[in-house]
Symmetry: C2
Subunit: 227 residues, 2 copies
DNA sequence: CCAAGCCTCCGGCAATAGCCGTAGAAGGCC
DNA sequence: GGCCTTCTACGGCTATTGCCGGAGGCTTGG
């Protein structure tokens, strides 16, 4: 996610006929003052002002790189608020609970804590889970578009996606397969019956598929207790 | 698609600690000689050689922009083979037929030519269709990942996606909703019964959903005959 | 009014980019 | 061997960048 944003910003500035304005646009998007930016880069404030004013027609890529990295670093230093907000912008109705673990959790530990039943034993449970998202899959079908998937993934795609209200489990797997980002794990909470196709799709993607019979409240509590 | 590739290449070169090597990488990916590149840019061949050798630590973005645009323009001048190949890389088993129209077709014209029945009359049929892809939706479920969607979209996402082997039509719409790229139109060929949910999803995406009762062979013939 | 924060404009200057042309190397073909 | 194609290394030179520092402007709060 961070690298994608990084590359996009750099690409945009580089290709812009008015790079100065593009730099300003992004600086304002990150809610960073010229003063803070110049301080972070260790240059005089007038340097930033001149760049944004377009005094330099063709800044060198080393300069662009430093500026882009400064945006991201400053944002991260202040809690990554802009990147986070971009990712979490408005919890949608279909997100029941979402959280980043303070320390990554080993996949087997997570499965154990939710009394999970592994439906894809052929796939090694060796991922490190950074967080989870509990999704009302019935509501998700009609309300989530691909843009919303970025919210679902929150700060990291190295997470467990937990689907509630699952009947056969096909739709979530189909949507996951279609999306460029892949979770570290998929959990179905009290599914009626997990279709063989859903398991096959999980195997094709190499994503562990876990089933749990915990009630939703209990499940969320346990996930949150993981840190 | 073109702009995405353009931005990605520029971003990559810009962020690279060794921009020269990145430039070379992409030049070779486009199968362009330094001579052709230098000729296209109207500079001496040794200029390109020096850039790729990393003689310039921090090329200006105007230079990077010119180089990236040269890659794309040269590729397009020779039939856009690399971009096309990237998009069409290996027709997969689930793509029954794919084609770019020589001239864009108005949506109503396409619908008429396949004797289509509009399931989403509330959505205006005002798109210009650049091409079509006929997909075996049964096979697509298990064989297509998100990367393959780029193949499905071919040269342009302004196309009609035609799904055969459709029962209720949910899965194709779910996959389309999850993917960042959206087609101009979706056609279901002889579906058993189009689920109300599928129609709802199409409406939510603002994508016209068309049903046709033509046999697959007849359908492909008619689409191909559109130009 | 004053101070602080934020920003703008511009002259100055060392360092580097952008590009040329030359000399040479390597590989393939006749 | 000679020729052609493709590429490399490098000196030279003009134009531009990267950055400083100074002067000044505007806004807000005490």
């Amino acid at each position: 996610m961070r690298d994608q944003v990084r590359e996009k910003i750099a690409g945009e500035i580089c290709l812009s006929e008015e790079p100065g304005r593009t730099i300003r646009k992004w600086r304002e998007q990150f809610v960073i003052s010229q003063q803070d930016l110049s301080r972070h880069l260790g240059v005089s404030p007038s340097v930033i002002s001149d760049y944004e004013a377009g005094r330099r027609r063709s800044p060198g890529i080393a300069t662009v790189r430093k500026i882009v990295d400064a945006f991201l670093e400053i944002d991260e230093k202040t809690g990554a608020n802009v990147l986070k907000q971009y990712s979490l912008a408005g919890k949608t109705d279909s997100i029941i609970s979402i959280k980043e673990f303070s320390a990554e959790i080993l996949a087997p530990k997570l499965v154990e804590s939710i009394e999970g039943d592994n439906l894809t034993p052929a796939i090694p449970l060796n991922e490190h889970i950074h967080g989870y998202t509990v999704i009302d899959s019935v509501r998700a079908i009609t309300t989530l578009s691909s843009f919303d998937y970025l919210k679902i993934y929150g700060w990291s795609s190295q997470r467990a996606l937990v689907f509630t209200g699952v009947r056969f489990g096909r739709s979530p797997m189909i949507a996951i397969r279609a999306h460029p980002l892949k979770p570290a794990m998929v959990v179905y909470q009290k599914p009626e019956h997990v279709d063989e196709l859903a398991i096959r799709l999980a195997e094709l993607e190499g994503i562990p598929l876990i089933r749990t019979s915990l009630a939703i409240g209990d499940l969320v509590d346990r996930l949150q207790a993981l840190g």
